[in-house]
């Protein structure tokens, strides 16, 4: 077999294996495991454990950063816990590097044989075992690809072009660091760079010292890659990427000077330690990678507060992210039903206060709220907080099984349900009218929007501070007006707008009446006035 083609095949198998392992282990970890993690994220050890698993499964700190970002955005995880998760994800990526550093050639062959038997038995077709079989196949191909690479690298050493290139990369520490940085940015993974460097150091194409600098460079580079991927993000999503990049720079700021001191003075430091823990330069390099990730994790644990405060200044939370967080609910309050019910009521009132803003997309820019958001973001933020209220009330009942306020809990839950239905109807109303180009909308559409906006502002007042006058006012404003709406619909049916446009406006008139009906029932007091 030609050496170059064997190296290319090894590289190809490595990448196929990486893809199979990543995608099928993630599938395997979805469903029950994911929901178990989501339910237990408030326990101290769960975020680091989840982080370690995600790092080990995805082999990418960028992917782990975005998983943590998603959990923070969904409100499942606080920023401090997300940082702990990220720190552990870095360590998790070491699993593959350490596996690759050990000579597992015989194990790999058995692994591939076992996968073949599983295919023969049809286990790759069964839903329950499919992902496990394909993940094991991926691991087998990955490690087999690596062993092919290792074998061919020994022969490649004689190739003058390759030797020249590798010698240049490893010619001095700075070049090694830079090469690792650039390749890691390109492949978005420091573990892949390290794994691919292992055969080179094993065959002496790279010196051990330069491999270490390449690993340090790659680790900083993958943090930079995460930051690049997050460049379109804002607020907390970008904060986590910034933390990831800063932590890696800080870890390099500790380890690179130690390396340089050791090299120039001969004082035994990190390199001596690595040589002490293992015999082969390949294993030593794998441990060096693990060491870098452990330094990152330690720094995350020690510097979490200043890091989060710095990144919050560099990338403050967006309006949508701020609106997505409850303003009044906190976990400890569920222990005291009276306090919890008051807080749920305040949060509910806050959400009702956002209802007029659901119409912003339909209103002139100068009439919109100062913190106007596109409808999709506005409704997602409000729906998320409504769900938080629902969960908060559920937790309160679970924490106080003997509570006497069960009737108030039932009423509060009903109000949240009514609010969720109202949010959804307002979203439909705005979407219906937004489908019709502004120039084609009949004047009545704009009148309906302004009228509804005014009513929603009164509803917000009532939710904040319901005096008897306010309640009576909302009751009057939401009175049935089918005669007016029927007349408008008759006029629309005979109008000149396009069929599609007319349908949307007609649907909006029906939704308008439904919204009024729901607003009348939003407050238990107004519904009692019926």
């Amino acid at each position: 077999m030609n050496t170059a083609s064997a190296a290319a095949a090894g590289l190809g198998l490595f990448f196929v294996g990486m893809r199979l392992v990543g995608s099928h282990l993630q599938q395997l970890a979805s469903g029950r495991i994911r929901s178990l993690l989501a339910r237990t994220f408030d326990r101290p050890l769960v975020p680091p454990l989840a982080g370690f698993l995600s790092g080990a499964l995805t082999q990418s700190t960028s992917a782990s950063t975005f998983i943590a970002t998603g959990l923070v955005s969904a409100g499942s995880l606080g920023l401090a816990a997300a940082l702990a998760m990220l720190a552990a994800a870095n360590v998790g990526t070491s699993v593959l590097v350490l596996l690759a550093a050990v000579d597992l050639r015989t194990l790999v062959l058995y692994l591939l044989a076992a996968t073949g038997c599983a295919f023969f038995a049809g286990l790759d077709q069964a839903e329950r075992s499919r992902h496990a079989v394909l993940a094991v196949l991926g691991l087998g191909l990955l490690l087999f690809g690596l062993s092919l690479l290792k074998d061919s690298v020994a022969d490649l050493r004689s190739n003058p072009w390759i030797r020249e290139f590798v010698e240049f990369s490893g010619s001095n520490s700075a070049v090694g660091f830079l090469a690792g940085f650039i390749i890691a940015v390109a492949v978005q993974s420091s573990s892949i760079v390290t794994v691919l460097a292992l055969p080179l150091v094993n065959e002496g194409l790279l010196t051990f010292d330069h491999t270490i600098m390449m690993i340090y460079g790659a680790s900083v580079g993958s943090g930079f890659a995460t930051l690049l991927l997050a460049s379109g993000m804002e607020g907390t999503s970008r904060q986590l990427a910034l933390c990831q990049a800063l932590l890696r720079v800080l870890a390099a700021a500790v380890l690179v000077p130690l390396f340089l001191i050791e090299q120039s003075t001969g004082v035994p430091l990190v390199l001596a330690g690595l040589r002490h823990v293992a015999d082969s330069p390949m294993t030593q390099s794998g441990v060096a990678y693990l060491l870098f990730q452990l330094v990152v994790a330690t720094m995350a644990a020690v510097l979490d507060k200043p890091l989060l405060s710095l990144t919050a200044r560099l990338s403050p939370p967006s309006t949508a992210q701020l609106l997505m967080k409850p303003a009044y609910l906190f976990d400890e309050a569920v222990e005291d039903p009276a306090t919890a019910l008051s807080l749920a009521q305040l949060e509910h009132a806050r959400l009702v206060g956002f209802l007029p803003d659901f119409l912003d997309d339909l209103r002139p820019v100068e009439e919109r709220a100062p913190n106007a958001l596109p409808l999709a973001q506005r409704s997602a933020a409000s729906a998320s907080v409504a769900k938080d209220i629902e969960d908060f009330l559920g937790s309160m009942v679970r924490a106080n099984p003997e509570m006497t306020e069960i009737q108030q809990v039932f009423e509060a839950r009903s109000r949240v349900l009514a609010l969720q239905t109202l949010q959804s109807a307002l979203q439909d109303f705005t979407n219906q009218l937004a489908q019709v180009p502004e120039a084609q909308r009949p004047p009545f559409a704009a009148h309906m929007v302004e009228g509804l906006h005014a009513i929603l502002m009164v509803a917000a007042d009532v939710a904040r501070n319901a005096t008897e006058d306010d309640l009576a006012l909302l009751h009057e404003l939401t009175a049935e007006r089918s005669a007016l709406m029927d007349r408008v619909r008759q006029e629309l049916l005979g109008g000149g707008s396009s069929i599609g446009g007319r349908e949307s406006v007609l649907s909006a008139t029906l939704l308008f009446e439904r919204i009024l009906w729901m607003l009348r029932r939003l407050s238990p007091v107004t519904s009692n006035l019926d």
């Binding site: 002139p364 009228g451 005014a454 502002m457 009057e476």
Partner: protein, 115 residues
Amino acid sequence: MNVTFETATAATVARPQGRLDFGAAAGLQQQLEEVIAQKPAALVVDCAQLEYVSSAGLRVFLVAARAAKAANIPFIACGLQASVREVFDVSGFTRILEIHADTAAALTHLGTPAA
């Protein structure tokens, strides 16, 4: 927006002109509150020259009507153009405000025929 005021024995008549939108709402609200503070016999808002009203404008009517009610001063809106009337109708504000066809009808209602 421009607002003119005419004070008579029976009522003070405010005549806003143009667009009553978010930008104009605070100014008109302040002017109406100042008039109410002077305790007129009644406050009539003649909307004949009002071309547009947004939700912020509707709120001005609501706040003024409440302030007038608290001060025991009759509050009437009149002369609504068709498009403005439609906003009042669809918002339900015609149910909570006293509305007349024009200033003459409003003053007649207050017991003083227009001059």
